[in-house]
């Protein structure tokens, strides 16, 4: 800094003179830091309160009533915990939770295994790895709804590319590859699309984990003559684990509430074989119009996601400290 204290004082005085004629400007200048802080934060908080928190509390209120959105003029009665007891004893909703569990379990398993393997390979830093990484990332940035809709075409048994490719490789006639029509294949159809779409996400985070491992740890292991296999299990995996956990938690939250892709691919069908929780909730809320009961259902889903979100933020902070 070359400016002397003298010129600072001059400048401050100059600024004060400039400011004097405008009363408003002076008042703005006079704002304390605390006032500015709240002024800056308030719009965001207000918006979130109006569009996120207020509706949430309204949903909590509705979950204790028998309100139906298609009959706004009917009398609204307080039913206490009745909606919750119905949602939590309903075998169909319970079944939708198991469908969700199947979807969440397999997508996370496949994405973690493939994603980590890819990250490990890309970390070999072969020539052109940056280009291929960018290419691999593209699916996850696209709209799940619009792309999921197109997968219906790929899955068509008679004309679709997927059925053709599978039949070409395995010899099974295409008419038997009813990815979206058959009860046993439809859950896998959505798992495949989700894995195709989100493996790059897991890969990217695992890659960051692998790159955060300092070289000297491997060098030390090499001095100790640890085999590559041992290095992988006692250095690579444990050091990358916080990152893997982060990816798993985030995919868990996202897939627990998965709606758009499933809605377009199968709409919950055939029957209710792919009716994950969000689809069941949408049917209850916007087709059966049981607003009170579906609000209780929504709160159940919200509590589950909120619990995971707490753990996620903890994992996030742990990764940040690295």
């Amino acid at each position: 800094m070359t400016t002397s204290p003298h010129t600072y004082a001059d400048k401050a005085a100059e600024a004060a003179v400039r400011a004097t004629p405008e009363p408003l400007a002076r008042r703005v200048r006079a704002l304390s830091d605390k006032a500015i802080a709240w002024l800056f934060i308030a719009p965001t908080i207000a918006l979130l309160l109006a569009i996120n928190i207020f509706p949430l509390f309204w949903a909590i209120y509705l979950s204790f009533t028998n309100y139906r959105a298609n009959r706004p003029n009917a009398e609204v009665k307080n039913v206490g915990l009745g909606n919750y007891s119905r949602v939590l004893n309903d075998p169909d909703i319970w079944a939708s939770m198991q469908t969700t569990a199947h979807f969440v379990f397999w997508t996370i398993l496949l994405q973690t295994v493939i994603g980590f393997a890819l990250a490990y390979l890309i970390d070999r830093k072969f020539r052109g790895h940056a280009f291929w990484t960018t290419l691999i990332l593209i699916p996850m940035m696209l709209s799940p709804a619009v792309v999921g809709n197109f997968w219906r075409f790929l899955y068509e048994p008679q004309i679709g590319l997927f059925a053709y490719a599978v039949s070409f490789l395995t010899g099974i006639p295409t008419s038997e590859i009813q990815m979206l029509g058959s009860v046993s294949l439809a859950p896998w159809a959505i798992i495949i699309v989700d894995t195709w779409m989100w493996t790059p996400y897991v890969m990217l985070i695992c890659l960051a984990g692998l790159r955060s491992i300092p070289d000297y740890i491997y060098e030390a292991a090499e001095v100790d003559r640890a085999s590559n296999w041992r290095q992988f299990w006692s250095i690579t995996v444990p050091m990358a684990l916080p990152f893997i956990m982060l990816a798993v938690l985030f995919r868990g939250i996202e897939n627990f509430k998965m709606f758009d892709m499933v809605n377009l691919l199968t709409g919950g069908g055939p029957g209710s074989t792919t009716e994950v929780a969000s689809i069941a909730l949408k049917r209850d809320a916007f087709e059966a119009w049981a607003t009170g009961r579906s609000s209780a259902f929504a709160i159940v889903l919200f509590v589950a996601v909120f619990g995971l979100a707490n753990i996620y933020v903890k994992a996030l902070n742990r990764v940040k400290q690295r």
Binding site: L88, Q98, A304, G307, L308, N310, I311
Partner: protein, 73 residues
């Protein structure tokens, strides 16, 4: 809250430690386990009763997590 009474072995150890149920680390682990248990109950296909009580378990775990994450390490 008054100063917790330290069990003798803790007082003997070098650092002035609180009992584990007032420290953040172990209690967060417990809360995470409760939330995990809630998810297992929500997702399992075996007993409707467990599903019925999954919400209560999840709520308990989440509240516990929010409270214990304020504890000092």
């Amino acid at each position: 809250m008054s100063e917790p009474v330290l069990p003798p072995h803790a007082a003997a150890s070098a650092k002035p430690s609180r009992p584990f149920f007032l420290r953040r680390g172990p209690m967060e682990a417990v809360a995470v386990t409760v939330i995990g248990l809630g998810f297992l109950m929500l997702f399992q296909p075996f007993a409707l009763v467990l599903y019925t009580y999954s919400l209560v378990t999840l709520l308990a775990g989440t509240f516990m997590f929010m409270i214990v994450s304020k504890f000092p390490e």
